[in-house]
């Protein structure tokens, strides 16, 4: 049967259906449950992965910088707060602040210099292998061709993103994860078909776990699996 004929056949469906489609405006369900959970799960996963791989240390410079920034800003605020009340004591406050500054200021300068170097590209030339390795670990690689996205998983909502499951066993996957690159997706060890916006699940599937395999660039032999339960509805 040619689909031309199907077009004609559909033209013969009952008139009440045609009438309904013309006159009735259906209520559209706007469920947005799972992407939010996915975002949370992804964040949690990355956090756990950090601890698990002992990567906490590589954040030290940034943590220190953050602390330094925080301390300086606190000191400045405190000093400002003191100003109106105790103008006479200002020199003392300044002195106290100056005493606290050297180590922090040095760290701050270092970080600023680093940032500048990165910005103008000069640091890349001077990067040691160790530096590069550390830099590398700030990114997460996927099995889907090694697309790199920020370790800090800033989940960027698409125009109309959602991850839905219905009873017929399909997942609608209009989800943007930083870019629209897709990580390796499996379903109970059955490779799913990936299309533009639909994943075909095995027949009759109404629930299950979406598994996303991730791998650290520095430890390619280690893979971690992010498991996202499907089929649950958020009220």
């Amino acid at each position: 049967m040619k689909h031309d004929r199907m077009l004609d056949v559909i033209g013969q469906i009952d008139e009440d259906l045609v009438y309904e489609a013309e006159r009735i405006r259906p209520e559209v369900s706007r469920r947005r449950p799972l992407w939010i959970r996915w975002a949370a799960a992804a964040t949690a996963f990355v956090f756990v992965a950090f601890i698990g791989f002992g990567l906490k240390n590589i954040w030290s410079p940034w943590e220190n910088q953050k602390s330094a920034d925080g301390a300086i800003s606190t000191a400045t605020e405190e000093a400002k707060a003191e100003e109106p009340r105790e103008e006479a004591a200002a020199p003392e406050a300044e002195e106290a602040q100056t005493q606290e500054m050297p180590a922090e200021a040095a760290m701050d300068d270092e970080a600023a210099a680093e940032e500048e170097a990165v910005a103008d590209g000069t640091e890349e030339k001077g990067m040691t292998e160790e530096d590069l390795a550390m830099y590398d670990e700030l990114f997460l690689y996927t099995d889907a061709g090694g697309y790199v996205y920020s370790l800090d998983p800033e989940l960027v909502p698409g125009e109309d993103e959602r991850l839905l499951l219905d009873g017929s066993g399909q997942v609608h996957f209009d989800f943007v994860y930083q870019s629209s690159e897709i990580v390796d997706v499996r379903m109970d060890e059955t490779q799913l078909t990936w299309t533009e916006d639909t994943i075909d699940l095995p027949e009759g599937t109404t629930e299950g776990v979406l598994m996303i395999t991730v791998r650290w660039s520095s430890m390619p032999e280690e893979t971690q699996i992010l498991m996202i339960p499907l089929g649950e509805e958020t009220p």
Partner: protein, 185 residues
């Protein structure tokens, strides 16, 4: 004028029936025709032909829903005209619909001995078993031949939602047709 009164005019062979029909249903039928033909002049001719076909069909027919009855005539006339006009090269919305419907038939061979009307009945039954939103999307796309974009705008949903819903409905319909013995693998 009420549809029943218009139909009575047809039955009385009163030519005012055509004027009243044109007055009430020109925009509706015109929209169907222009959507398929994408040519205002052709669409206008199809709409005028629709009134003639209705005049010839009523009586003996007594349409239950006049709008759908007229719309069907317009749709069929427009598709026929489109096919004649674009016999050598298909394009645009109707071609897209054809391609989408191909996945209903591509994997099965529908028994040609079965009348189209029986298949249409099976499709109608199937559509009644689906949820309202899916049913309406299906009819808007494959009966009214509305573009994905227009449907998405009409119901304020994303185009991908429309596409995936239609995909799911077609897939379920295919299964239904097999179960009903309409299609043979």
């Amino acid at each position: 004028m009420e549809d029943e009164k218009i139909i009575e005019l047809y039955w009385a062979r009163d030519e005012a029936a055509i004027q009243e029909t044109d007055l009430k249903y020109h925009p509706y039928c015109g929209a169907i025709a222009i959507r398929i033909l994408e040519d205002r002049e052709d669409a206008e001719e199809c709409v005028n032909d629709t009134w003639l076909h209705a005049w010839n069909a009523i009586p003996p027919e007594r349409p239950g829903i006049l709008s759908a009855f007229l719309g069907r005539i317009t749709r069929n006339l427009s598709i026929d005209r489109y096919r004649v006009k674009h016999a050598s090269r298909r394009r645009s919305n109707l071609e897209a619909v054809d391609l989408e419907l191909a996945d209903l038939e591509g994997r099965y061979h529908l028994d040609e001995q079965i009348e189209d009307r029986v298949i249409a009945r099976a499709i109608s039954d199937f559509l009644r078993s689906t949820d309202t939103f899916s049913r309406i999307l299906f009819v808007r796309r494959y009966w009214y031949l509305e573009s994905i974009r227009d449907i998405a705008e009409r119901y304020e949903v994303s185009e991908s939602k429309v596409k995936s819903n239609l995909f799911r409905t077609r897939k379920a319909l295919r299964q239904h047709l097999v179960q009903e013995g309409v299609s043979i693998a």
